[in-house]
Symmetry: C2
Amino acid sequence: MSQKVMSIGTVRDLTGLTERQIRYYEDRELVFPERSPGGARKFSFEDVERLKEIHMKMKDGFHTFELRKSIAGHQSRT
Amino acid sequence: MSQKVMSIGTVRDLTGLTERQIRYYEDRELVFPERSPGGARKFSFEDVERLKEIHMKMKDGFHTFELRKSIAGHQSRT
DNA sequence: CGTGTAAGGAATTCTGACACG
DNA sequence: CGTGTAAGGAATTCTGACACG
């Protein structure tokens, strides 16, 4: 489940988020997809769950910098 | 694990097969990937395992039409 | 039969920017 | 701050065909 295998379009379909939101959450260091040789983002099922969780918190009024702490602990940025 | 989420390039990397082989095995009805709106194949982790199994059998001298029976039973073509 | 390859096209994804608030 | 969008380019995938054996 932690294997990075899906492209952003698949993640969009699975989470219901827009590509823009997914890229932004990555920019805010809330998720850490890998990259294909060509530069395309690759996400895992865990990332999908994490993104769903992030979005719910956002709807509850949290900001990205706050979530970076509360949801932290999954993976660092090795 | 049965969710169709990876594109053929990812499957290529995970199985070590060539895209040509993967497409051929689909043509021979040994795996049944879904399609994205644009026509791109989408595979599941189960498909990846299945493809590895297929390739091992092939190396043992089996032909695709023989494998369609022996490995059958996973999924039909609904 | 199973697989390689060149060919041309179409869909996918990427980044940086401007916008609004 | 979080997200939408138009812009241009690059990487990915698709199909049908010719090839060899």
